[in-house]
């Protein structure tokens, strides 16, 4: 009885949260959510996969009801996660298992491990859907793995504590950031050799290419900045600083980033500042700071880019943010130390 009541309360709260949001779109979504209440999980909403670093699990969230669909056991210390291009497989960096696990979306089973090198933290899948570029944090190398033959194609010496990984949309460049060397390393994917380095501020974390591959964005956690690098010249063209009222400079630590494909916004997770910064991509200025949970790490945008899901490491939850209003609309409890997030579009959810 009491369980039932609790569930009802939760749903009511969720509903109220939704109604607070401005905009027709969200009201419509609130109505949709109300319609969905009481229904079993269906393929009507996207699923969000979240890796829980300290629980060795992945939490799957329904992107409309904001309920946890299931929690799956995976390898040790899962951090970076990404999907194959056909969304049939989830790749998981199981850092302490020293493996990249290939997870079957349809059966919730680990199919096999890929030879990843030691301590894989983050990775990026080449547009060819075949080659994974993996940062090996403890070894100062980047490993290129062929996911079909399950072999290591190349290992490339990079700086100390490689962390962020990005592959350009045209597939030409792979970028790895090294946290202690403070560089973005440029790897030519044709030859898998390191051809250039761009020095950025202290402790670079995430790297993201704009959709046109003209800019590379790199966040610097300890430097407190985001460097926007011109891909043509590999020189920094803008450095973005963040200032929040009532939050000391030291706590502003940019980590994960998401760039919207319309070229309008960049979302920058500010770690222990507990906010996500919204940067205007035309002026390169932060225009808003969205309050989320404690020590926000990474984000995942929905395919429609109408919402994003931000992982809050210390508070162990995920904040849902509405892109139209730039407001948080819901907090979802997940496992311990949620880290990475990726969306499985609804049309790919196994029936």
């Amino acid at each position: 009885m009491s369980q039932k009541l609790n569930a009802q309360n939760l749903q009511t709260n969720g509903h109220e949260e939704m109604m607070k949001v401005d905009g027709v779109y969200n009201l419509r979504r609130a109505a949709l959510m109300a319609f969905c209440l009481g229904m079993t999980t269906s393929a009507q909403a996207h699923w969000v996969y979240v890796s829980n670093e300290k629980d060795d699990t992945v939490t799957v969230i329904d992107a409309d009801t904001y309920e946890v669909v299931k929690t799956i056991d995976v390898g040790l210390r899962p951090r970076g996660i990404t999907m194959s291009k056909d969304f049939s497989r989830l790749y998981i960096c199981a850092s302490d298992s020293d493996a990249v696990q290939v997870f079957d979306i349809a059966t919730d089973k680990v199919l096999h491990d890929l030879p990843s090198g030691e301590d894989p933290e983050q990775f990026a899948l080449h547009p060819d859907d075949r080659h994974l570029y993996i940062a090996n944090e403890d070894d100062a190398i980047a490993t290129v793995v062929d996911t079909q033959t399950r072999t290591v194609v190349a290992q490339i010496d990079v700086g100390v504590e490689p962390e962020g990984m990005a592959v350009s949309h045209d597939g030409k460049w792979a970028i790895v950031t090294s946290e202690t060397t403070n560089m973005a390393h440029w790897i030519d994917t044709e030859t898998n050799t390191l051809v250039d380095n761009t020095l950025v501020d202290q402790r670079p974390r995430d790297a993201e290419f704009t959709l046109d591959d003209k800019e590379l964005w790199v966040s610097s956690e300890i430097g407190g900045t985001v460097s926007v690098i011109d891909v043509e010249t590999k020189q920094i063209k803008h450095i973005i600083n963040f200032e929040l009222d009532g939050v000391s400079d030291e706590r502003v630590q940019p980590v994960g980033m998401e760039l919207t494909s319309d070229g309008k916004y960049a979302f920058v997770a500010l770690g222990p500042a507990n906010h996500v910064a919204v940067v205007d991509r035309n002026t390169y200025k932060p225009i808003k700071y969205i309050l989320v949970g404690r020590r926000v790490w990474h984000m995942a945008l929905t395919p429609e880019e109408d919402r994003f899901f931000a992982t809050n490491g210390v508070s162990g939850d995920v904040t849902v943010v509405d892109v139209a209003s730039l407001k948080p609309i819901k907090t979802i409890k997940v496992g311990r130390f949620p880290w990475g997030a990726v969306v499985l579009p609804k049309q790919h959810i196994p029936q």
Partner: protein, 465 residues
């Protein structure tokens, strides 16, 4: 320096593991290391071996070299001098370096008094693995910029003369030197005429006067001061509302200085040292803690017992024996440190893991300070493209400089006294309890300056900017 032995190893493949790389066996007072290095010639692993004679504790150094070789494809020159102390030079890089950056480490083995517990011991190589790890880090970065860092490690034994060694080291040319020596010796060395064009890093002394009235313009401090440790503890007490303190001061010079710092800090944070006692000199507290300590601490009111005992003689025997059931902090129980093996957050696990590749023992505050000194140099060289001590000092004291130090906030140097600003972890034996500056302690410039001697109260006039 009676004899020196030079050894050269070729480049190696990355797949080699440390255990493949060297084996140790003892020979009389010395230890022989065979640094067997697998070199990749036409994809088959051939190996070349070299051996060196050194004091036992250079094993860490040999491992570090092996590690550096394994991880950076570098050639290595290992120079070991016997006699006064062991000196070692790590010369990394098969690439054509456009800029060479020699860094010197000079440490003295401290004269530690006998202590009650047999468990207490200090590593003779304290500070050395920290510097080595940092130079390996620097060289990994350096190879992309064609910068090559060479580290020379010199350790002076108890019967040696560290000032004479410093004189010899600093003669001719300006140098970058990391010092792990006592406050007295640091002061003498920094005032040598030979040292005036050098940049020295203090990684071995906590003394407040070196950061204040007795500061010297050619010395930067990467180890925190006792004042910083004291303020970190007081912030914690203040937050926990432990307002009444029972202070027990040890009898040794460092203990008294730490107690002074704590008294000053209590005043600063509005806490009350209600009881202030000096520890008994003659008690073997191991045997009679249960009868001595309750009597010694028999008072009607205190929230916490604060003890200063830097050599770990008696303080650990106070826990659970105090008259009132109260926590113990200071040199036992809850401690303020620059670094400890329990620290894992903010990427610290990576630093701990890289450190454990260098040596078997855990990383201490002094190791962290030598690491931070050598990494500071690396950052300055990377950004300025210069190896000149004067230019490096200017950059380090400037607003542009920041160092990622695995403590969740960027580290920088206070321009008024050359102290490295840094968070101070508060730890017990098995976990981190907190990290100062604690939330809520505000400062107009940076919250890190709520710890230690702040600009308005500084008596240091050697840094004129």
């Amino acid at each position: 320096m009676t004899s020196a032995l030079v050894m050269v190893c070729g480049s190696v493949s990355q797949q080699s593991t440390d255990s493949d790389l060297f084996h140790a066996s003892s020979l009389m007072n010395c230890v022989t290391f065979a640094l067997a290095v697998a070199s990749s010639v036409a994809s088959s692993a051939a190996s070349s071996a070299a051996s060196a004679l050194a004091h036992g504790s250079t094993s860490a150094v040999a491992r570090a070299v092996a590690h550096a070789v394994a991880h950076a494809n570098q050639s290595v020159v290992l120079k070991l001098s016997l006699g006064l102390g062991a000196a070692l030079s790590l010369n990394a890089g098969v690439f054509a370096a456009e800029l060479a950056i020699p860094i010197h480490y000079l440490g003295e083995v401290r004269d530690r008094p006998p202590v009650l517990s047999n468990r207490v011991s200090w590593p003779d190589d304290e500070g050395e693995p920290g510097a080595l790890l940092a130079v390996v880090d620097n060289n990994t970065t350096g190879k992309f910029l064609k910068h090559q860092y060479d580290l020379t490690i010199e350790r002076i034994d108890l019967d040696g003369d560290v000032v004479a060694a410093a004189k010899a080291l600093l003669t001719g040319g300006s140098r970058l030197v990391v010092l792990n020596v006592s406050a007295e010796n640091l002061s003498v060395i920094a005032q040598l005429p030979e040292a005036q064009d050098d940049l020295l890093f203090n990684a071995g002394s906590l003394a407040n006067p070196l950061r204040n009235e007795a500061c010297l313009g050619n010395v930067l401090h990467t180890l925190p001061s006792r004042a910083m440790y004291a303020d970190a503890l007081m912030q914690f007490f203040s937050k926990r509302k432990w307002r009444d303190i029972f202070l027990i001061s040890g009898n040794r010079a460092g203990d008294k200085q730490y107690a002074d710092a704590l008294r000053r800090s209590a005043k600063k944070f509005g806490l009350k040292i209600r009881h202030d006692k000096t520890w008994l000199v003659d008690a073997d507290i191991r045997r009679n803690a249960s009868s001595e300590v309750p009597v010694f601490t028999q008072e009607r009111k205190y929230d916490v017992v604060l003890v200063t005992d830097e050599d770990q003689d008696f303080s650990n025997f106070l826990l659970y024996h105090t008259w009132l059931p109260r926590p113990v902090a200071g040199s036992a129980g809850l401690k303020a440190v620059a670094w400890d093996s329990v620290i894992e957050q903010w990427g610290a696990a990576q630093l701990q893991s890289r450190y454990s590749d260098v040596t078997a023992r855990s990383m201490t505050s002094v190791d962290y300070a030598t690491w931070a000194a050598v990494r500071s140099i690396g950052e300055a060289v990377t950004r300025t493209q210069s190896s000149e001590p004067a230019e490096i000092k200017t950059y380090l004291l400037g607003e542009q400089f920041s160092l990622a130090g695995f403590k969740g906030a960027k580290l920088s140097y206070r321009p008024w006294n050359g102290q490295l600003r840094q968070p101070i972890p508060l730890v017990h034996a098995d976990a981190v309890v907190g990290q100062a500056p604690l939330e809520g302690f505000l400062h107009r410039v940076t919250e890190l300056d709520t710890l230690g001697i702040d600009e308005p109260e500084t008596q240091c006039a050697e840094f004129t900017n």
